[in-house]
Amino acid sequence: MSIVIIDYGVGNLQSLQKAFAHFGVEALITERAEEIKKADGVVLPGVGSFEAGMRGLKARGLIETVQAVAEENRPMLGICLGAQLMLSKGHEFGIHEGLSVIEGEVVKFEAEQVKEKIPEVGWNKVYPPEGVSWEKSIFAGLESPEMYFTHSYIFVPKEFEHVFGNTSYGGVEFCSVIRKGNIYGTQFHPEKSGKAGLALIENFIKLVQSVS
């Protein structure tokens, strides 16, 4: 069983690697397409702007690689910017094309509607949308876990079926988890979210094991 963390030039990847190591999994940090292609599970991390993220993937020739992995429904976990990039379009510093692994857009949290400071920095609850079950998913066993967020942009998936978790901030409910089959994207940072975040990482490892 092999898991790779895609390095496309953004963010602190060590903490993510450390979270996998906590469960005895040596996740490889790589920017090489051939390593990503043969991995059983792929993590797309990242912090920073949408445009810089897509530029980083493009410069390394990884756009089609990630799309191909998603096409096969291989377990994938996008985190923060990495999850945003999975959608079709981002509205940060202009409009930019995303990976379109899941249909939808990434838009700015509207300051007029949110009755708290933006960016949202801190811990917040994640819960399933009405009628959605977290059983048999990487969120199994977690009950409204509090996770660590730092963001000004939010996911807007086109189809309701891809909304897998919601969060409320300043009186506004937004989609904080997207999912399509074995592909998950979280707006929060599981690797920074204490024990609840680690439980999610552990479940992701189990998912990878189950299909590898």
Partner: protein
């Protein structure tokens, strides 16, 4: 209402956690790795790690020590002390930091804030202000652990730094730090009044009521050191007390029975 973050701060000198008392006296508190792990286990929402001499002697902080301290904790860590270049920030991030706190170099060269925010994103850049009350009631920003004047008004400096792109502000009161007599409420309110970004208050916490007071003045996060270091009050007790006052805090979810069947 959002959750207020409770953040223990580790002041580092050499290989020890120390406690400065109004920047003059220093007491050795303990081992940074052990304390960091204890705070993580006790439910700290983040950690702040400040090397208090790196800047003064124009040294870099000890990245190997930082790496060992952050190796088994899974909450955000803000690191400060002697951060002068983009390269330093990168080194800190590669050693387990998620954000960096910048004071001296930002005062010396304010454009460093914009350069850093552009490179690493605003969420990564925390402005660290060490403020000292002046005879006329205003506050001046100090550098090098509260030793050197900058000549800048602390409140005006916070405004400028927000325009330059910092993502959060850590405000420490040089006068109150180590006294356990409560936070400098006029200082915190003066900045909270206009700050559109999160504000972390530090300096003077002696009991849970002090924390509630400064939250009421607009702090989004609370930093403290002595009260946690000396086990006078635990993080869990602080959270319980705040929660009884109607202030939201994160409660570490003890119920984690994850055994999914895929």
């Amino acid at each position: 209402m959002k959750n207020i973050r409770i953040i223990p701060t580790l002041h580092i000198k050499g290989h020890n956690v120390v406690k400065p008392i109004q920047t003059e006296a220093l007491r050795v508190v303990g081992n940074p790795k052990e304390l960091a792990l204890r705070y993580y286990e006790e439910g700290a929402d983040e950690l702040i790690y400040l090397d208090i001499v790196a800047s003064l002697y124009r040294r870099n902080l000890d990245f190997e020590l930082l790496k060992s301290v952050t190796s088994n904790i899974f909450i955000p860590v803000t690191v400060g002390g002697g951060i002068r270049t983009l390269h330093d920030i990168n080194d800190a991030l590669r050693s387990g930091a998620d954000k960096v706190a910048i004071n001296t170099e930002a005062l010396r060269r304010p454009e460093f804030i914009s350069e850093a925010a552009r490179e690493f994103g605003s969420q990564c850049i925390v402005l660290y202000i060490e403020a000292k009350k002046q005879p006329d009631g205003s506050f001046e920003a100090y550098t090098d652990g509260g030793r050197e004047h900058s000549g800048r008004d602390a409140v005006e400096w916070a405004k400028r730094a927000i325009d330059l792109g910092v993502g959060e502000i850590l405000v420490s009161s040089v006068d109150q730090d180590g006294t356990r007599k409560g936070y400098d409420l006029p200082l915190i309110s003066a900045i909270a009044r206009f700050a559109p970004i999160p504000l972390i208050a530090h300096g003077g916490a002696g009991n849970a009521s002090h924390l509630a007071e400064v939250i009421e003045k607009g702090a989004d996060a609370i930093s403290a050191s002595s009260i946690f270091h000396y086990n006078e009050i635990s993080i869990a007790e602080v959270k319980k007390s705040l929660s009884e006052k109607g202030i939201n805090v994160r409660a570490e979810n003890s119920k984690l029975s994850n055994s999914p069947n895929f």
